[in-house]
Amino acid sequence: MSDAKTMKLVITRFDPDVDAVPRTQEYEIPVQPDWKVLDAVNFIKDEVDGTLSHRWSCRMAVCGSCGMMVNGEPKLTCKVALSDYGDELLIEPLANFPVVRDLVVEMEGFMDKFKSVKPWIITAKEMAAEEGTNRQSPAELEVFKQFSMCINCMLCYSACPVVANEPEFLGPAAIALGHRYNMDSRDEGQAERNEIFRGEGTVFSCSYANECSEVCPKNVDPAAAVNQAKLNAVIDWATGLVIPRKGP
C-alpha cells in the first residue's frame, strides 16, 4: 500500500427492514492508483463495513453485474478507473430500478422484458440433425453481431429518460436483443417480434435521446437498434397490408 492516498466514498445505504428511505454513508479509505471503482467498493465491503451489499462477479466487464451510478452517471464499476475521479466519489444504485438493498437493484422486471421479445431463433421447422448445421456467412453475422454483445448490465435503462418516465417501456437492451434476432439470417420470427414492437410501450416510445448508447460499456449502440427496429416494424406492417401473412 506504498502509493496509497485516501479517498472519500459517499455510498447509498438502504435496509428495507430499517430505513424508510435510502440514506448515505461516508467512507474514508486508502486507495491504490490502479484501482477500479469496484475495487474501492470491495475494499469497503471486505475491510471496513461487511454490511454493505453490492453485486459483482467477473471484474472484467463481462458479466454485467457491477453497474452503479458513479457521480450520477451509470457506470460499469469494474471498468472505470478510480483515478478518473477526484478525492470524493458518490456511489448510488442504478437509477430507474427499485432498490433491494444498498447498491443492489431489483432485476426481475428487466428479465421479464427480455423474455417478452422472444430472444431465441424462431424457425418454422426444426432442422433434423442429419440435415447438418445452419450456415451463416461472416457478412450475415456482421449485420447483427454488434447487438449481440450486450452483457445485460442495465446501464442503458438507468440512462434512458423514457424508462425514467415510463417504467413499463420495454427499453433499450430488450429491444436491441429482439432486433438482434430479427436481423439474424437463420431466424424466421420477424413477424412475431415486429408485432410485439408495434405494441404500446415498445419501440415507438423511444424519443431517440441516444443516452443508452452514450453509456453502453460494450458499444452495442442500443439506440441504433431501437430506431432500426422502428423502421422494420413499420415496413413489416405495410408489407402485411399488401401481402397477406401465412397462417400460423
Binding site: P161, M183, S207, A209, N210, E211, N227, L231, I235, T239
Partner: protein, 112 residues
C-alpha cells in the same frame, strides 16, 4: 444539462420564433407603416441576439439529427441496402448546404 434536454429546450426557441414570425406577418397586413416599424424593431440588438440564438439552435438540432439519422437505418430494408453511414452523412450535409444556398439566393433576389 444533458444533450437531449438541451435538444428539447430548443423547442421553446422555435415557439418564440413562431410568435415573432406571426407578429411580422401581422404587421405586413396592417400596411406599409406598420411593416416599416416592425422592420426597424427587428434591428434592435435584442431581436438580433434572439435570432442568433435561433440560428445556433437550428444548427445544433440539424447536426444532432445528421449524427443520429444514419445509424437508424437497418443494414438492409427489404432488398434495399442503404448507403454506408459516411456516405449518408455526406448526403445529408450536401442537401443541407445545397438547400441553404438556394434559399439564400432566392432571398437575396439572385434567382426568381
Amino acid at each position: 444539462m444533458r444533450l437531449y434536454t438541451l435538444f428539447g429546450a430548443t423547442g421553446i426557441v422555435y415557439l418564440l420564433v413562431g410568435f415573432v414570425a406571426l407578429r411580422v406577418v401581422w404587421n405586413l397586413g396592417e400596411g406599409p407603416e406598420a411593416w416599416a416599424a416592425v422592420l426597424e424593431q427587428l434591428e434592435n440588438p435584442i431581436y438580433i441576439a434572439f435570432h442568433a440564438l435561433a440560428l445556433v439552435s437550428v444548427v445544433f438540432v440539424a447536426v444532432r439529427f445528421f449524427r443520429l439519422f444514419p445509424k437508424a437505418q437497418p443494414a438492409f430494408i427489404g432488398p434495399v441496402v442503404p448507403p454506408p453511414r459516411p456516405i449518408l452523412h455526406a448526403m445529408l450535409y450536401a442537401a443541407w448546404i445545397g438547400i441553404t444556398v438556394v434559399l439564400s439566393a432566392i432571398l437575396a433576389g439572385v434567382i426568381f
